[in-house]
Symmetry: C2
Subunit: 403 residues, 2 copies
Amino acid sequence: MALGTSVPAGTAGSPPSRDEQWTPGIVQSVSPPGTFDLGPGYLEPALLPVGLLDAAYRQALTEFGTAALSYGADQGALPLREALAARAGGRCGPGNVLVTGGISQALQLVSTSMAAPADVVFVDRTSYDLGRRIITDCGLPLREVPGDAAGMDPAALVAAVAAERAAGRRPAFVYLNPTFHNPTGAVMPVPRRRALVSAAAEVGLLIVEDDAYAGLGLDHGELPVSCAELAGYHGVIRLCTFAKTLAPGLRLGWLLADPSLVGRLAGHGMFVSGGCVNHLASLAATVLVRDGCYDRHLRWLRGQLRARRDALAVPLRHQLGHRVDISCPRGGFFLWLRFPDGEREPDLLAAARQAGVVAAAGSRFGTVSRTSLRLAYSFNSPARLTEAASRLGAAWETTAPSS
Amino acid sequence: MALGTSVPAGTAGSPPSRDEQWTPGIVQSVSPPGTFDLGPGYLEPALLPVGLLDAAYRQALTEFGTAALSYGADQGALPLREALAARAGGRCGPGNVLVTGGISQALQLVSTSMAAPADVVFVDRTSYDLGRRIITDCGLPLREVPGDAAGMDPAALVAAVAAERAAGRRPAFVYLNPTFHNPTGAVMPVPRRRALVSAAAEVGLLIVEDDAYAGLGLDHGELPVSCAELAGYHGVIRLCTFAKTLAPGLRLGWLLADPSLVGRLAGHGMFVSGGCVNHLASLAATVLVRDGCYDRHLRWLRGQLRARRDALAVPLRHQLGHRVDISCPRGGFFLWLRFPDGEREPDLLAAARQAGVVAAAGSRFGTVSRTSLRLAYSFNSPARLTEAASRLGAAWETTAPSS
């Protein structure tokens, strides 16, 4: 059976939305009853392709049989690594790929394998809160490095590394999120990527490039080349995942790096003992990527996300754009709102909640230059997002400090 | 659909053996062509229940829908944790359970979360080689502790801990494998378990109990209570897995510990960010455990393994028992052979290989008191094991040193 013929393109085999099945004992987080939850970086239930994955698991078990249930190849199944390498661009082959259990698990592996506790990790002042938490939970302290609209400042990174070394501390890596940055949605321009790759190489610092949202460009036009590809896959570990493009419940991702670094990671006893960290799921993904279903699903998903972004951003800008800076993300899951001086985060969150809308506090993500909030457009239908925008517009009119 | 009605008990829906699908790019390790591979702790392809898991994944996706594809509850799906806690015995509830990606992943998590590099881990002189490797790859040095036929010596453990502390090093945990020990197959008697639990508590040392083979008792009679249950789940982390009883390719296991320790582990950013480490697989297992299919499969699998153990052990004892000490394992996957003084491991391995049989070197597993080899009976059919026994009997007659 070729999956491509059994699953209609565009619908991805999705059933109707069934978030009534999202109960706290099963899923990670459940929206407060009756609210419009723009908090988490989740896909809306209706965007999770149950039918497609049902077909993919069946096909993987039919095609690979007992080999799908055995200990998998340590680095991951070769057909998947070949396909992912080919998609990555640059001179990338299967030796550059390690199949992981998603970015969170990969970041824990990198933080414990490529560093020792007390080694220092450099991050954007504002960056993914739970990525920061994984790193600090591995015993690695963070140092925020300043930047501008283009991203982290390379000279500031070099200076920060020098300062840590002068203080007798070892730099572990710099954690970047250049494409559809979480939470800001920003895309780092190629010259800044190139400058950061050079700066890191100059001081011998590993780059860990979190590319969770890389597959989710919503507008026309090429995405910038990854830092990993710019560096020829030397000195950069690029973390990728199917969690945002297919389904987080698979717990499946991959990383790209130079083969010697991949070999070093895959040589950890955890892989030598247990093999691939998610073998059956990786073969289900193999089937989808190989048969073109994944690309068809991605096209469909991008359209769905584009409609959601616009359903939230357009009315919100209309209502609040005169005083709130609202990002225009070209991809990913999030709007980033920066409020005028004098507006307080707790007041804004409380007003939103009063109106039945949950937002993510900007302060969760580190140092923010102005009061900021993150709104996910990924987790609700366009109709609900339009309604949420209307409620937020009304709620936040009244929080504006009287001038 | 109740799975129990769709999958015939006893056959577990297995297709005919299809190890022709086991190719190096897909699976972890492939037997040398034309050999009888008694090396790895694998299940024979024919014992991996393709049909049962196909039905389980379909049922999980039907029943849980998009919730099966979302980020899973950090500690694991409640119905699975409830079922596993009920099976564990003692005063164990879902708060004692953390769903893991298998024992290898759990051991990496424990080694990096509950210890810092250079902290010391205490192990049996002879113990699971790749468990040792996971621990040392996390930067934790090993100290072998002597024991006897009953297992590790509690007084020696206390002394070893004191010696490390006196030398300024911090003890991390003791790694035990009390039930169907890998490689020896030994079962630690309850009094020794009790004494080790007391000794560890006395010196404030965490026990990590690797219970990979606990579900696989092959003879009648109760299995000893786990160290975790003896300790009331205080100060012991018990590592369990579906890899040996269902399929390693799922990469699914669980650990049992006291709720505060489980909460501490599940509070790691890796879980807070990514949720359950293998959510969809855990819901497939939920279905199997709940519907009784897992227990039916276990009964069938135990019968299959019993036939394999006997097919290897009985003729081997008949041919070599007069001079080789061959274990009588009550469960697990392995025979452990101890040879008379003067016989050399490389000669024995070479003679076996010459006869087309692959065995695991005893020296892989640490310090062995006599030349030893491990033979897995899990990875071949009874007929092939009988043939392998005959070949080994002939091969090892000639390696006996002339007396």
